[in-house]
């Protein structure tokens, strides 16, 4: 008996193609979404790091000049900018903070300023406007125009904290939209790769540089002040609350480093991000029916296993900066292999 609705034959239904294979992805598209995600992630790191430093250092008149200088110079160093860049080499220590902030926010000559990162993120997005969702595009476009606006510096000066926070929020919102408004096919996997690779690199750098400063400066800092800076590091990695919950509120340098490096299930740790990247490339390989693991998959798989079975004692024995530098170099090989295997036509 008829149910009153339109009748569909099996042949009709097959046309709807629910089981249709994945859409192929242009190599250029993969390149662009990967960099789009990397630059958004980088902008978030820059904004968060500056925000923490401003809160922590702007008024600390009683810090030794030497230490104050180190703690500000960390910011460009995390992003591999030479100390002399942007006229930061010379000048009084008291104004170093302001100069670093200006260099890292609005300086169009600094390819790692917020301004340039957001511009790059948007340029990449613009080239694949049809790949990403309207919501993602609008969010990225709004933050781009907000930092390009005539009154951007004025708004920054009124409240650096609010301004930087708007960049962090925009990145978070963008990532949420990325997860919720596009299909989780290759396109999405390449955004995940970009995000996690950027995060691994940042986290290794920021942890390693702070470890070097704070362990060497023990005689310049009393214990409460040391703890404040370790907490600052956790905040720079958006990890303070998660850390507290798992470490019973005890702040200690090695614990912080171990948490940010080896924690299994917190998205800001190196280990978690490596797993994320490894999963993403595996999904890309699966979608394109590849049988053998390629260079990207091999390096990430190895790194993933290494971190999964890592002992804290290994990390200490090798030395924190050395251990993290090795991960950094593996990640740069991944980036190169991606370039060779997927983006270059």
């Amino acid at each position: 008996m008829s149910t009153g609705g339109p009748a569909f034959s099996a042949a009709d239904l097959s046309k709807y193609g629910l089981g249709r294979g994945a859409r192929p992805m242009l190599a250029r598209e993969a390149d662009s979404v990967y960099w789009m995600a990397r630059y958004v992630e980088r902008a978030e790191h820059i904004a968060r790091l500056l925000r923490i430093k401003l809160n922590l250092l702007a008024d600390t008149g009683d810090l030794e000049d030497e230490l104050l200088e180190w703690l500000w110079r960390v910011v460009p160093r995390v992003f591999r900018l030479p100390d002399g860049a942007g006229g930061l080499a010379a000048g009084p220590v008291e104004t170093l903070g302001a100069r670093v902030v200006s260099f890292m926010t609005f300086d169009p000559a600094n390819s790692n300023s917020l301004f340039c990162c957001l511009t790059q993120a948007r340029e990449n997005a613009r080239g694949v406007r049809e790949t990403i969702s309207a919501e993602m595009w609008e969010e990225l476009n709004s933050i781009y125009w907000s930092i390009r606006a005539d009154d951007a510096r004025q708004r920054f000066d009124e409240s650096p904290d609010a301004f930087l926070n708007s960049v962090v929020s925009a990145s978070m919102l963008f990532q949420g939209l990325t997860d919720q408004t596009i299909r989780h096919d290759q396109r999405w996997q390449f955004t995940q790769l970009g995000k996690y690779i950027e995060r691994i690199d940042f986290t290794c750098r920021v942890v390693s540089l702070h470890w070097q400063i704070l362990t060497q400066a023990e005689d310049l800092l009393d214990l409460p002040l040391q703890n404040i800076h370790w907490m600052g590091l956790l905040r720079s990695c958006c990890s303070i609350e998660a850390y507290r919950k798992s470490q019973l509120a005890e702040i200690d340098g090695l614990r912080v480093v171990s948490y940010l490096t080896l924690e299994e299930s917190f998205p800001r740790s190196v280990r978690y991000a490596v797993r994320g990247a490894a999963n993403a490339i595996a999904a890309v390989r699966e979608e394109s029916d590849a049988r053998k693991a390629d260079a990207v998959q091999r390096i990430l798989g190895r790194l993933d296993a290494q971190l999964e079975y890592a002992e804290l004692s290994e990390l200490v024995a090798e030395g924190v900066p050395q251990y993290l530098a090795r991960i950094e170099s593996e990640v740069s090989s991944v980036a190169l292999a991606l370039q060779r295997g997927y983006f270059l036509h």
Binding site: L26, A27, R129, A134, S288, H345
Partner: protein, 492 residues
């Protein structure tokens, strides 16, 4: 806001007489009057912000500083009643049908030339006539799948065809975005009317593209070919690809192997069957056309001629855009369809003809002179607004290369109220303004697949400079949402 509105003796789309709006504008007029300056200014600002945040922009070639610009959007809608639209729709369908028959004919038997309806030298002298296409069979004999025909209204309100854009007409994305923003900014005004929907355009476009897929493609792969993000219409290319759910490709994404076209993907090469190309003929294939082109793909023309890939629009349709061939469209309609043209042309003097040339040179101050192969408002002389030096310059150019010029009497385009801001008069972040008449035209979009489909509406372009007759976006034009109303018996 209409208090100082001037009609200046022109045909006004909204007003029959000052203070007396035409019947189909009465509701809009009432709403606008009651809205107040501050409220209207607020809505304008809201629309501008939406355009900017959505990145609905175009690029002006001559503008070095601001690469991306918002296409100025004029919030007052242009309304076309159903009875007027029916004529336009019939006229445009008739026109695109004849133009397709014409293309098929001139690239094959050339009967229309042999019967001396059109002088052969005009066709062979046309820059956009592609000898490479002679004898090439295109799927379903369709050449012009998409056409944007520019209509103007003269001082009596009669619709005239100003030109056909049969290569890669742009602007349809603005039509769709204007409508979306209009609904957001003026939901109440929109609800007063029964406006015909245009939102199915991308779906119809995709159907049109699939209709001409090569026969070997069961489930054809369609892609939009763009010159890239620095092209002035890049927003539109990406918009259409997104709306149709197809790939947007650049020349560097493509490769031709064994006369098939492939795109390079993360997992190797994938075949493309239909290319909606937004790249001009000249740049499509460095082997066939300009060897210095970086935008196209080597070997594409060969794949196309064999029939392994379909290009939309076909190569060679530019001959219909030639302004010296345009005057013959009514003759084509008569010749191929045995009908009289429903929409009239603007009278045109073809400078290649001695009599026309003489008249043109003697009356430059009363005529609009246009280069036959330019578009976008470039290469024009507006005689009545020109200086003697400009006229002398054009006279020399015409004598030098008469085939390259036509002249038309100045059409006093109809005007429509536009929102004009008063700089310095601000409330909050919004700039206050008032309404003034500005000249408009209308570009409807026609798709030609199994039949001709005219999108109900189109791009109403506005010459935002006072007194200007040039509506092109590259020359400071803006646009309006265009409302075609449902049939009158359905009108509440």
């Amino acid at each position: 806001m209409f208090t100082q509105y001037q009609m200046d003796g022109l045909f006004d789309e909204m007003f029959e007489r000052p203070d007396s709006p035409r019947q189909h504008y009465a509701d809009v007029h009432k709403r606008l009057e009651s809205l107040g300056k501050a409220e209207f200014a607020k809505r304008v600002r809201m629309a501008d912000l939406t355009f900017r945040n959505q990145g609905i922009t175009f690029t002006v070639y001559s503008d070095q500083a601001g690469v991306e610009k918002i296409f100025p959007f004029d919030l007052i809608p242009r309304i076309v009643p159903d009875r007027e639209w029916q004529t336009i729709e019939k006229g445009l369908s008739q026109r695109i049908t004849a133009l397709n028959l014409f293309c098929q004919d001139i690239y094959h038997k050339q009967k229309i030339l042999r019967d001396r309806v059109i002088p052969p030298e005009l066709i062979y002298g046309a820059k956009m006539f592609r000898r490479e296409m002679i004898g090439v069979k295109v799927p379903k004999d369709i050449y012009m799948h998409i056409c944007g025909t520019d209509l103007v209204r003269d001082h009596r309100g009669e619709y005239l065809v100003l030109e056909d854009n049969g290569r890669t007409p742009s602007g349809v994305s603005y039509v769709l975005e204007n409508r979306a923003i209009m609904k957001r900014v003026f939901p109440a005004i929109f609800a007063d009317y029964r406006v015909r929907a245009i939102e199915d355009y991308p779906y119809n476009l995709l159907r049109t593209l699939k209709h001409v897929a090569p026969p070997h493609a069961d489930d054809p792969v369609v892609a939009v070919l763009t010159p890239g993000i620095y092209n002035s219409a890049y927003f539109e290319h990406s918009f259409l690809a997104r709306q149709m759910g197809v790939e947007l490709v650049e020349g560097r994404d493509l490769i031709v192997e064994n006369a098939f076209v492939y795109m390079r993907t993360t997992s190797g090469l994938r075949r493309i069957d239909v290319l909606y190309r937004r790249v001009d003929d000249d740049f499509l294939d460095p082997l066939a056309f300009r060897p210095d082109s970086m935008l196209g793909v080597a070997g594409l023309m060969n794949a196309y001629r064999i029939g392994n890939v379909t290009l939309v629009n076909a190569v060679g349709t530019g001959v219909c855009d030639d302004k010296a061939i345009y005057p013959y469209v009514p003759d084509m309609i008569k010749y191929y369809l045995g009908q009289d043209a429903i929409l009239a042309n603007v009278p045109t003097y073809i400078c290649a003809r001695p009599d026309d040339r003489k008249y043109t040179l003697e009356n430059l101050n009363k005529l609009v002179v246009k280069a036959t192969n330019e578009s976008g408002g470039y290469g024009m002389l507006m005689g009545h607004q020109s200086t003697q030096a400009e006229r002398d310059d054009f006279a020399a150019k015409i004598r030098d290369d008469p085939r390259n010029f036509i002249a038309q009497p100045v059409v006093e385009l109809s005007q429509h109220p536009s929102y004009i801001q008063d700089p310095g008069d601000k409330i909050g972040g919004a700039t206050l303004g008032h309404f003034e008449g500005r000249r408009v035209d209308l570009r409807p979009y026609i798709l030609y697949g199994d039949k001709a489909t005219v999108m109900p509406g189109g791009l109403t372009r506005v010459a935002l400079r006072k007194g200007s007759l040039v509506v092109n976006s590259s020359q400071g034009g803006g646009s309006k949402d265009t409302w075609v109303l449902e049939e009158e018996e359905n009108q509440s």
